[in-house]
């Protein structure tokens, strides 16, 4: 088979069918941009999980004097030194525990002041109203339940709080957004496939004279189909390139520069260029293979060999 012959056939086909080709390019571009976006979003969520889970602790708040009156868990009164030492010893014996830090009432008061500053509420708080606590770092942040079941309800313990729970709500929200993006992507992908099938059909119909003659002189099925398949693949790859460009531009203008979320929200670790670049080959491969396969199956129906 001669490459030049096939290439010229592809060019003719794409030009003849310009509006449809354009529609294919746009829909493939959009759906694959969403595809890449949702991949990056997953990366972003897992990166944030890694970053934040590393920083979160389980806190065991201990009873203070004022809790003794207000909180049923502390009915036995403020925590005693003996209880504190027992809790610490028990914690250090547990295999899931990585590190135990003690926060005194004064330290808690200091942190509280730092956080809420001069608000009227902060002004009315005194150090002895703050709870003492153990801050526990776990080897595996998922093992919160082990601590909770061991210490909830023990004498001197006011409550066990898992900070991860707060983050999990956020991650769940991001997860929903990600699924929504994937849903839109699937719809777009479906539209793109329908467009490709239709484009191929129109293309095959407008060249039925040529293909009829090719069949007549004994051209192989592949030889007859190749220009149509390549036509769809070329349009697809152009769309894929647009998708790649939009991902790169998105990273550049939303995260790195422009809106520059990376600087606006330093608390969140955003995905870097490496994450973006690993997605590009995937998108390009999909933009080539998907239309080619769609065209192949469309031709089985519309181009009898």
């Amino acid at each position: 088979m001669r490459a030049q012959f096939v290439l010229s056939e592809i060019g003719v086909g794409l030009r003849r069918n310009l509006t449809m080709t354009f529609a294919v390019i746009v829909s493939v571009g959009l759906s694959l941009a969403l595809f890449g976006g949702s991949l990056l979003m997953s990366d972003q969520v897992s990166q944030m999980k890694g970053y934040w889970y590393d920083k979160v602790n389980v806190s065991i708040y201990l009873c203070n004097k004022s809790d003794a009156k207000s909180d049923p868990a502390c009915a036995q009164g403020a925590v005693t030194t003996q209880q504190k030492e027992q809790i610490k010893a028990d914690l250090e014996k547990m295999s899931v525990v990585d590190e135990v830090l003690y926060e005194s009432q004064d330290e808690a008061y200091k942190h509280y002041k730092e956080q809420f500053g001069d608000s009227p509420l902060a002004a009315s708080i005194t150090p002895d109203q703050m709870p003492e606590s153990y801050r526990i770092k776990l080897k595996d942040p998922e093992k919160y339940q082990v601590i909770a079941s061991a210490f909830n309800g023990r004498a001197g313990v006011q409550s066990v709080q898992d900070q991860k729970e707060i983050l999990d709500n956020l991650f769940r929200l991001l997860g929903y957004l990600n699924w929504a993006a994937r849903g839109v992507m699937l719809v777009m992908l479906f539209v793109a496939l329908l467009l490709i099938v239709n484009t191929v059909r129109v293309s095959a119909f407008s060249r039925r004279r040529e293909t009829g003659i090719m069949r007549l002189v004994g051209a192989s099925g592949f030889y007859i189909q190749a220009p149509f398949i390549m036509e769809a693949a070329v349009a697809g790859v152009i769309g894929g390139t647009i998708a790649c460009a939009s991902l790169v531009l998105g990273q550049q203008f939303v995260i790195e520069g422009g809106v520059s979320l990376a600087q606006e929200l330093p608390l969140i670790a955003f995905v870097g260029w490496d994450a973006v670049f690993t997605k590009l080959p995937l998108i390009l491969a999909a933009s080539f293979l998907m239309p080619a396969l769609a065209a192949f199956f469309a031709l089985r129906k519309y181009l009898k060999v």
Partner: protein, 229 residues
């Protein structure tokens, strides 16, 4: 070369068979006219040889192969050994005469050197030497049919199928085309030609096969047209 054994063909959703129990044999190097009114089954007969259709019953052998046993992807290989010519020429209007002929070689992957050599040769053979760069639209009907014959013959097929090749041509031009087909036949190529042209059949005195309502009603060695309009 061609053998039909009790061949019947019923198209889907039709009750009347297009061919009914047809048996015949065409030897290598023969020239065969296929006659019969419209709807008699001539086209179906040719389509079965080209394996554009498969027969419903019986066996069709072409070039020694049972067409029912050829898998779909090998059909193009088989068609390369056949040449086909049609009433409506079937040339590509946006390609030159030379390109049209070369097309038959390009699609089967012949090298450019081979194509450059064989295209002028075959155009000389059909009497169109030097008209390589003309467009089909600039040529007369007879010349266009010669281009189609050149394209059918450029790969030196063993069998040439012609479906009313003179149907669109005036009698004088038709004679020229018949002389050309006769010349091709003399090189050893078997020719099967479906036609309505009484004069040609009567003049050539070749084997005549007549179909009527799908049945083989006549097979005459040096026959005449014999069919009344």
């Amino acid at each position: 070369m061609i053998r039909f054994d009790n061949v019947s063909k019923v198209y889907p959703k039709q009750t009347r068979p297009a061919l009914r129990d047809v048996s015949l044999e065409v030897e290598k190097g023969e020239f065969v006219f296929l006659v019969g009114s419209s709807g008699s089954g001539k086209s179906t007969f040719l389509r079965l040889i080209l394996r554009e259709e498969r027969c419903s019953q019986g066996q069709v052998h072409v070039l020694g192969k049972d067409l029912a046993r050829i898998s779909n992807w090998k059909v193009p290989q088989m068609r390369r050994q056949l040449g086909t010519v049609f009433q409506d020429f079937r040339l590509l209007p946006n390609k030159t005469v030379g390109e049209n002929v070369a097309f038959a070689q390009e699609v089967i992957g012949k090298s450019r050197g081979e194509i450059r050599k064989s295209v002028p040769q075959v155009l000389d053979l059909v009497g169109l030497g030097g008209k390589e760069d003309r467009m089909p639209g600039e040529l007369s009907g007879g010349e266009q049919q010669r281009v189609a014959i050149a394209r059918a013959f450029v790969n030196r097929p063993k069998l040439l199928i012609a479906d009313e090749p003179t149907g669109n041509l005036d009698p004088q031009t038709s004679v020229g085309i018949m002389k050309l087909l006769d010349r091709i036949n003399r090189t050893g190529t078997t020719v099967v030609m479906a036609t309505h042209d009484q004069n040609i059949v009567d003049q050539m005195r070749k084997r005549v096969i007549e179909l009527e309502k799908g049945r083989l009603v006549r097979d005459q060695a040096r026959g005449v047209y014999g069919y009344q309009h």
